[in-house]
């Protein structure tokens, strides 16, 4: 590589020689003022695009009339927090909050617990059927919801689990467990298995090794899995829309849709609810964001 570049760039030495001193003086990784300006302009544009829809939703939530989104100019004079107090006092907001919390917490706890044992088993042991099992975990992750939703609906209605929290928790787990198991396997792989051996030599049972040595060491990995489960379960739309039928059991994802029906569209209330939902989740997301990204990409890298 290097030799060819030298040869090909040889015919044009003047340019690069003229360039070199300036670039050297500037140092690596630094650009001229023009390039910096260009990056700032691009980044500011991108930031505006990223921010605008969210900011707009917030702005609309301050307008008192449900058609204010068509003439946003009005909102400046009539700005009010009435929508928020109305949502908090006269809608099922707190019912939805409760259902969302129950479903999300249930999914996170059950999903991560099951995924941790599985992840450990596949990280530490090679057993007959290992490859098939991993392949199945991988496959399950890419199931489109359309594959399971119909048979699930039939099974759940046979079992009487439609419109129950347990039903939704179990269904959410199907999407979360396989992914978390992969993620945690990646994390367990980074814990040297000399630690397991030391535990065994010191007389711990295999299960004791897992619970008392590995789980505490894997806390960051478990946290990432839990964040992932939390955010996925929170944002789940399809299953919740299909399986939750009564208004007081709606999760936020379903409840928010209920503001717009065929007959009425309370867009101002919807915007206010959306903001109320978005703020805590986004704050949480920002707190865990860094771990999440490393977990999502690097966490699973040990195929």
């Amino acid at each position: 590589m290097s030799t060819t570049t030298v040869e090909t760039s040889a015919p044009v030495p003047q340019q690069s020689v003229a360039d070199t001193p300036r670039r050297r003086a500037r140092g690596r990784g630094r650009r001229g003022p023009l390039a910096t300006l260009a990056s700032h302009v691009l980044l500011i544009t991108a930031s505006l695009v990223a921010f605008f829809p969210v900011g707009w939703l917030f702005f609309l939530s301050l307008g008192p009339d449900k058609d204010d989104y068509l003439h946003p100019g009005h909102i400046w004079h009539t700005m009010t927090l009435d929508n928020y107090s109305f949502v908090l006092q006269h809608t099922s907001f707190f019912d939805w909050l409760k259902s969302t919390l129950v479903v999300v917490a249930g999914t996170t706890v059950i999903g991560v617990m099951i995924a941790a044992t599985t992840g450990y088993a596949v990280s530490r042991m090679r057993f007959p059927g290992y490859k098939k099992f991993m392949w199945m975990l991988l496959l399950t992750q890419m199931f489109p919801i359309a594959v399971l939703i119909v048979p699930m609906y039939q099974i759940m209605s046979d079992l009487g689990l439609i419109d129950t929290y347990l039903g939704l928790i179990l269904i959410n787990s199907t999407t979360i467990v396989p992914y978390c198991a992969w993620l945690l396997k990646g994390y367990f792989d980074t814990i040297p298995f000399e630690i397991d051996e030391a535990g065994r030599v010191d007389g711990l049972s295999p299960f004791g090794t897992f619970v008392r040595l590995i789980l505490p060491l894997a806390r960051p990995g478990l946290a990432v899995a839990a964040f992932y489960a939390f955010l996925t379960a929170f944002g789940e739309v399809a299953f919740a829309s299909t399986f939750m039928l009564s208004d007081d059991k709606y999760t936020f994802a379903v409840g928010l849709q209920s503001f717009i029906s065929e007959h009425d569209a309370q867009r101002n209330l919807m915007a206010a609810t959306a903001v109320l939902i978005a703020i805590p989740v986004s704050v949480f997301f920002y707190l865990v964001q860094k771990n999440l990204v490393t977990g999502l990409t690097a966490g699973g890298t040990k195929g």
Partner: protein, 334 residues
């Protein structure tokens, strides 16, 4: 028992010994691996009950003519037994080759492919561009990163409604376009613009993940490689082409695969953006959902058949992708 931990070599001990009888082998395997099996039992049970059983059951449904009028149901105190019957592969035949198969399946199929290809290309190029910009050292970098992640931080089901307000006929986007004397398309009514709107919203939602993953990949590239390239007189483009892109390869192959699967399966955006109003802008996933739950009578059998077809497409695609990666000697990071 102790042999179970033998991950370094991946070999099972005792393979070289003369083969004992079947009973002995089962007993040995049991003694050696009972613990591993015990550990995966919960997940095997859960996946078996929650995934495999529904999958098999779904496969069975696709071979029947089940819909909401002939499946078992309870109305008040009366329980009505299922009366649907076995029809073999008729559902698949009807979906793929039946009359109006083009309108029902193939047009959605083509649109799904276009949708996936366009969205992932946009996600990746915009994400990479922003990651490169963010990877420089300058003031305000953290601030930009925090703002740019916002579309990912706010749940999709919330932001889609923000977009719906903006894209409405006389919403803010059309008002702005009108003020600039540009045409004001009917984003939520006209098929072409519905599709454009869907791609736009999905791109907006999907870029941050790509950006952050690629930024992580960029930061992991050894800085001395750039120094060496610069010493050798490589131009900025050459550094990008021969240092940055190869350095990103393993991250890229993972996020592109994830992106393709997620976009192909994307449900929430199209479902929430259009509701029941856009039959032609539905991708296969949302179309299958609509058949099974968005119409009366609900056509469970066809919906399930769509699901199986979708899964088949994804499996074929993934195995080709893996093979292609293997040929290029890359390890897929999943």
């Amino acid at each position: 028992m102790t042999v179970a931990i033998d991950r370094a070599t991946g070999k099972r001990h005792g393979d070289r010994a003369p083969r004992p009888g079947l009973g002995r082998r089962i007993k040995n395997a049991y003694q050696r691996h009972w613990y591993a099996y015990a550990m995966i039992t919960p997940v095997a049970v859960v996946l078996g009950v929650l995934v495999l059983y529904p999958l098999v059951y779904g496969l069975y449904l696709t071979l029947t003519d089940a819909n909401s009028l002939n499946t078992a149901r309870t109305i008040g105190v009366n329980h009505i037994d299922a009366t649907y019957k076995f029809v073999g592969l008729d559902n698949y035949k009807d979906i793929l080759f039946g009359p109006t198969a083009y309108d029902r399946f193939w047009s959605h199929f083509v649109w799904t492919i276009v949708w996936t290809a366009l969205c992932v290309t946009l996600h990746y190029t915009i994400g990479l561009g922003l990651a490169l910009l963010l990877n420089q050292k300058f003031r305000g970098q953290t601030f930009y990163r925090l703002v740019l992640v916002l579309p990912w931080a706010v749940p999709t089901f919330v932001t889609v409604f923000g977009w719906r307000f903006m894209l409405a006929d006389s919403g803010v986007i059309n008002t702005a376009l009108h003020a600039l004397h540009l045409p004001t398309p009917q984003w939520l009514e006209d098929t072409f613009w519905q599709r454009a709107a869907a791609i736009m919203v999905n791109t907006w939602c999907g870029v941050p993940f790509m950006m952050l993953s690629l930024l992580g990949g960029l930061q992991a590239i050894d800085a001395s490689l750039y120094e060496a390239a610069e010493m050798d007189g490589a131009s900025a483009w050459q550094r990008f082409r021969y240092v940055t892109l190869p350095g990103l390869r393993s991250v890229s192959s993972t996020v592109v695969l994830l992106g393709i699967i997620w976009t192909f399966n994307q449900f929430a955006i199209i479902f929430l953006l259009f509701g029941d109003t856009a039959p032609d802008a539905q991708i296969l996933v949302t179309w299958a959902y609509r058949l099974g739950f968005g119409q009366q009578p609900r056509d469970f059998a066809q919906s399930a058949a769509y699901g199986i077809l979708l899964l088949a497409i994804l499996i074929v695609f993934t195995s080709f992708y893996r093979r292609w990666l293997n040929r290029n000697e890359q390890q897929l990071a999943i």
